[in-house]
Every structure is written in C-alpha cells, then in structure tokens.
Amino acid sequence: MPLLEVNNLEVCFGLRSGAVKALRDVSFTLQRGERLGVVGESGAGKSVLGFSIINLLSRPGHISSGSVHFEGKDLASLAPEELRSIRGNRISMIFQDPMMTLNPVLTIGVQMVECLLAHRRISKADAKRIALKKLQQVQIPSPEKRLDQYPHELSGGMRQRIVIAIGLLLDPDIIIADEPTTALDVTIQAEIMDLMLNLCEQNNVALILITHDLGVVSQVTQRMLVMYAGRIIEQGPTKEIINDAQHPYTQGLMNALPQMALPGQKLNQIKGTMPPLQRIPKGCSFNPRCEYVMDICKQTLPSFTQSGNCQVACHMVAEPMQDKMLIKEV
C-alpha cells in the first residue's frame, strides 16, 4: 500500500463570481521514503495541492470531491481532532519564507518545545533535548544558544534550517516543502537542498517538493508531477521527464531554462500566459499556447497515455502516427 494516495482530487474555491476549480482530477501516489517533485507555473495549483493534502485549505477553498488516503485513512473526511494529530506529527510542512513562518515573539526553543508537547506526552526537559538534537541535525552552529533566541536574531539561512528542524521534530512520514528555498540566496539554496535531501534519506521521510525550479527537482527528486491550470499533465520518473519530456508544456519549460539558450541568444519562452482558472479553454487547457495544437485539442480533454515510464495527458502522444518531429519542421 502506498503511504499517500491521492485520487481524483478536486478543490473548489467558492467565490462571489461562482465556484472556481483550483485542482481538477489530480491523482498520484507517494511511497514511503520517496521524493516527489511538483512543478508548474505560478497559479498552476501547486501550493493548493500541498495544503489540500493535509486538508488545511483556508476558506473559501475546500475539497469538493476525490480523496487523500494517508495510510488508508481518508484525510478529506477525517474528524478535525484526528486531523490535528496527523498534521505536524505525521505530515509536516515547510513554507517558502522562513522570515514569516516563525512566530516573531516566541523564542525558537519555546516554539519547538510547544510543538513537541502538543503531540507527545513527554516532559519539558525531554522536549528540549529532542529540540536540541534536531537543531544539531540541521547543522546549526551552537544550537544550545539558538533555543533562547528570537527569530529576528537569526539570518535567513539559519531560520530556514530551524524551520526544517521543526518540520522534522516529530519524525514525520511526509514533509511537504512549498518552495523551501525561493526566499534564500543561491549559495544558501544549494546548502539547504543538500541538507533536506540528506535528512530525508537518513530518516526515510517521504518528501513532496513544490517548486518551479527544475534544477532543484532534477537533483533531489525521484519522481515528478508537472501541473498546468490545476491538472497534472505529465508524471513519471524525474530523469525520464527531464531528459525526454513528452508534453509540449514540459518541453517548453525545459527549453526555457537559461542553459538551453546559446550566449547572445534570447531565452526561449512559452508564448502567452496561463489562463485564469475561471476561463480555462475547452479541450486541452494548454491548447492556446501549444505549438503543435490540433483540432482535437480544442475539443476533447486528453486522457493519460503511458509513454515509457511516464504518463502524459496529450493528444499528440496518444496518437503515435503523428510524428511530432515532422510537425516541428513544418
């Protein structure tokens, strides 16, 4: 049984102008210890996916259909009490901005101890010992001192280490990291990603890494999902997708990497922008921006096709007689 199984998840935001579907028909699985990357443009629904896994969408968002099974229990329909015992305890989350995720008026030690005491029946001294151990694990210089410091006394990199330490505090099974390195500068990013990779491997923690940095995804994750306008359009082993993307959107993302352009040449980009969620076009939602668009793309939604170890939702991949290389040359 997979650790986490998401089936046909649909998330709706009830707005005054009508319900907007932020996630449509999202299904994937996560094995114990597996590292999964979720990539896509801003607004593709990556963060909403992260929040809906622990059923913590803030109003007006809600899970309108589908299920999120964690060890066989459906988180989408669990009682609030039980959900709370899973949040933070079994599934924890790391946010984008470490400046904001720590409470500015409580010391690091207080925040860590509180988190432990909320889920475990242990003494304060024991909680402090565990907190100290976790701070050592994230390689913070002089961890004893950090416990008595306030977040504003620490640098961004150190704060993110502390956020990671808090995420690992209760030895969760899954960590959902929502763009954990976006707010940090590049040198620190690499350190933090290395650290997370090592910690996940050592503790056999599954990681869901939400990001738009394909470089990070290719280094850290084993499998990846590509999202567009609330749907998964391609999923499979990271290596295969990075080396040989099937979906035109994924290809576009790869081509947009600065490494793909020659010096002096303009960077490649996918034309247009993602449609607003209220006005997703009929058929394949990518069709207005797709170079290879066909008539069928404007009519029917493509279903997943197996291509190698990957699943791709694209009509072109589904119809093998259409040679995409040929079309490209036209």
Partner: protein, 316 residues
C-alpha cells in the same frame, strides 16, 4: 549582531535583552517620557503606601474634628502646621485624604481597565480569528455598546442601583460597582483594536505554520496571535486608565461615584465645589491639580509608547 555577542557562550539574559532594546533606548533619550514615568511612579508609590505616609486616617471618624474644618494650607496666614494642605469642610486633613483618594482613583482605573481588557481581548480575538457570522455578531454588539456613551450608561446603572437597593448598600459596593460599570462600558475600545490587529496577524504565515503543526484554535489564538498584538493593547491601556480615572471622577463629581466617607479624587473635588466661591479654594483645586497631573502624565506616557511601539514610525 555584534562580534562580542557571538563570542559569549551565555545567551543574553532578559535584563540584557531589555537594555539592548529599542524600547529602553528611546526611553533613555526622551526626557518627557522619563519625567512622566517618574511622576507616575511617585503616584503609585504614594498610593500604595498611603496609610504609612498620610499623617491622619481620613476613614477614621475619631481622628476628625469638626472644629478643624476649612483650615487653609499651611503656607497661608491662617494655616496650621499640622495640616499641610489644609482641611476640608468636615475637618479632614487634605493631604491624607488626597493620598487615600489617589489610591481609590488608581485602583478603580486599573481594575476597570483590567476588566475592559479581559472582555475586549477575549471578544476581539474570537471575532477576528473566527470571523464570519461570529465576527459580525460580536462587532455589532460592540457598535451598540459604543453608541451609548460611558457616562450615560454609568449614570443610568448607578442611579437605578441606588434607587433600588438604597444608598447604604450602594456606599458599601460603590467601588466594585464603578469598576464593573466603567469596565463593561468601555470594552469595545479594546475589542475593536484587537480585532483589527488579529485580522492582520492571522494572514501571516506563522499562523499557517501553527495550523500545519496541528495546534488547536485556542492555542493559536492565545499563544501565537495574542502576543503579536500586545503593543496596541499596551498603548490603549495607558490611555484607557486615564479615561477610566476621569470617568470615575466625573461620576463622583455628579454624586454617583465614591461616597464622601471614602472619597476619591473626583468626590473630593465635588465636595469642595460648594465652598469655592466663599474663598475655600483648596478643597477643590488641590485634588483637581493632582488629578490633572495624573491624567496628563498617563497620556504622555501613552503617546510616547505609541510612538515607540509603532514600527511605521521607526526613524532608524
């Protein structure tokens, strides 16, 4: 962070932290704040130790001699050295009475504000954090409460109480009644301020993070959000204490506050009022000055605190 703090092994103590803070620094350079704080501190010390400092006990009828009534302050020609600030119409020593009166006024001010803060914090936090219908309901109640002025509510309640239960019982319970009335009439001030800060705070990521950690609603509200809204609470508290003292003085002046046997500053001012045109000015003027200085000092402190604690006004 400076080099030296990095090298020290010990984390800074609370006192060191306080000394390094912006709060302490701006206090050190602000003469007005220092003076106000000193005067306020003097008031508090005098009020607490009133029974030790005062030469007479104004509550003890055996120490009062009607023959000593209306003696002017000692520096005046007819003054007596025993009564530094003169005596009132019943022969009570003004200095002692003012000291005890200050105690009564401060006590009522502090307790009434504590009650306001308690009600306001609980209601404001709940309204702000839960939102939706609960929010609308609580805030409409606050609006209704605010549409009656404090004095009007107090006059009605206290007058009805006096009429129903008689003056005797009222005099015994005067202090508690004043605290209750002023406390309940002013809670929306707190509730509104706190609700506004909670609305801003609850959108911050640390609240999401706390929810992700599986904390319950009450814990998030009181442990995580409340401490982050403390600075506006501190600021309005100073102003509200001054307001509560004024309210109490006004009510006492109108004869609905503290009884003459246990006078507050307001009832002292009131009791001297009828003699003021016959030249006996000290019964009204001296407690009046004491009250004005107290309220002024508190307002100055409140202003200073608002400037310090408002990050938008940071100058460096």
């Amino acid at each position: 962070m400076s080099e030296s703090t990095f090298k020290t092994e010990q984390p800074p103590t609370a006192l060191q932290r306080f000394k390094a803070s912006h709060f302490w620094h701006s206090f050190k350079i602000d003469r007005v704040a220092q003076l106000s704080f000193l005067i306020f501190l003097a008031y508090v010390v005098l009020a607490i130790f009133a029974s030790l400092i005062a030469p007479f006990d104004p509550y003890d009828a055996s120490q009062i001699d009607i023959m000593n009534s209306e003696i002017p302050p000692s520096w005046q020609a007819e003054g007596e050295a025993d009564f530094l600030l003169g005596t009132d119409a019943q022969g009570r020593d003004m200095l002692s009475t003012i000291l005890y009166g200050t105690r009564v006024s401060l006590l009522i001010g502090l307790c009434a504000v504590a009650l306001q803060a308690l009600l306001g914090i609980v209601i404001g936090l709940t309204a702000g954090y839960i939102g939706g219908r609960v929010d609308s309901f609580l805030m409409r109640i606050a609006d209704i409460q605010l549409s009656f002025s404090t004095l009007m509510v107090a006059i009605i309640v206290l007058a009805v109480f006096q009429a129903t239960f008689g003056t005797e019982l009222y005099q015994q319970l005067a202090m508690i009644m004043l605290i209750l009335v002023i406390g309940i009439a002013e809670w929306p001030q707190y509730a509104r301020t706190i609700r506004a800060s909670v609305l801003a705070e609850k959108k911050k990521e640390y609240v999401d993070a706390a929810r992700v950690m599986g904390f319950g609603r009450l814990r998030i509200m009181f442990r995580h959000i409340l401490p982050n809204t403390l600075s506006p609470i501190l600021v309005i508290s100073t102003v509200q204490i001054a307001n509560a003292i004024i309210s109490e003085a006004s009510l006492s002046f109108l004869g609905l506050g503290m009884p003459v046997s246990q006078p507050s500053l307001g009832s002292l001012i009131s009791s001297g009022f009828e003699y003021i045109f016959s030249g006996v000015w000290w019964i009204t003027v001296i407690p009046g000055v004491v009250l004005i200085v107290l309220v002024l000092v508190m307002n100055l402190l409140g202003d200073w605190m608002r400037d310090v604690l408002n990050p938008k006004l940071y100058k460096g």
